[in-house]
Amino acid sequence: MKCRKCGEQASIELRRHNAAFCAGDFLEFFRNQVREAIRKHRMFGRDEQVLVAVSGGKDSLALWDVLIDDGYQTTGLHLDLGIFDYSVESRAKCEAFAAARGVPLLVSSVAEEVGGPVPVIKQVTRRPPCSGCGLSKRYLLNRGALEHGFPVVATGHNLDDEAATLFGSVMHWQMDALPRQSPALASTHPKLVRRVKPLYRLSELETAAYAFLRRIDYIVEECPFARGATSIAHKEILNRMEEASPGAKHNFLFGFLEKARPAFERAEVVALQECARCGQVTTGTVCAFCKLSDQVKRAGR
């Protein structure tokens, strides 16, 4: 198989694009997809400080790598989830990446902020671990950005993540989640920072290939709580569809964003206010993070 651009031996085949690329031309293709995402959705400018949420995995470190190389002003924020050795190693990968490139990294501990690490949150809430973990991440990323004066948070969500989330939302017709599914969410409240996903045009295969070819040392092991997660089951279903029909995931997500999302957007009217306890944005009197933190701290007494 030959590279579509230079005719040399290809390193990767992208069936949904009916193309194959050598290492060098693939890296350029990847960077161009990120540039197109940033441009199309006006995610951020070169004069803005961007807070990049980094987990230590391939996606977020690949994103940070592209942004640094393209000259954006970035700072990493790593949330230490307290998930045994997995979190120790994840944090070490982020610290090593930041040190090697001479870029700033902030670290925040879920155990300190919530009152217990993710395994304790799982135990106390008796809910799937991804639930309390996701809630804590969204809250702490937004608050971290506000406290340090960043106007925008960039996350490493890729095309597969977005397609799987959309699949889950459609399966349950979650009318509140559908309008919020977007590569760029504007700030709709002074205490809500802009959230963007510059990798949404790139598949997981592509971000893994980019990270490997750029020799990024990322954590390959999966989160110990990921096994059995619904989002993984949805990804497996979508990958089977992709195998039978290359481009299926792309068409599903991009078709929604271009054709269907505007209809759901019109249906969304949500009144935002500040949490009576912590002052962060919520739709109720007390935010979900404060309720979770109360629950975890009560159980720890």
């Binding site: 198989m1 085949e13 194959a20 996606d59 993540d161 989330t165 497996e236």
Partner: protein, 68 residues
């Protein structure tokens, strides 16, 4: 030939002299879910892996995630 698998890390011996896509099919692995590494390079599904080669099938899937 040797195939290195992850999560958990393990090695399996399979017959070489075949294309990558045939090896993936034998192992019931969907091509979209792994990058195929030989040495310090990525290789495509049409490439033939020799008997003495070692390849790593590195999973690309990350998650889980909450839904919003």
């Amino acid at each position: 030939m040797k195939v290195v698998l992850r999560n958990p890390r393990r090695e399996v011996e399979v017959a070489g002299g075949r294309r990558v896509k045939e090896i993936l099919q034998d192992l019931d692995i969907v091509p979209e879910t792994v990058i195929v590494i030989r040495g310090d390079s990525l290789i495509t599904g049409d490439q033939i892996v020799a008997d003495g080669d070692t390849i790593e099938l590195r999973p690309v899937m990350s998650g889980g995630r909450s839904t919003s």
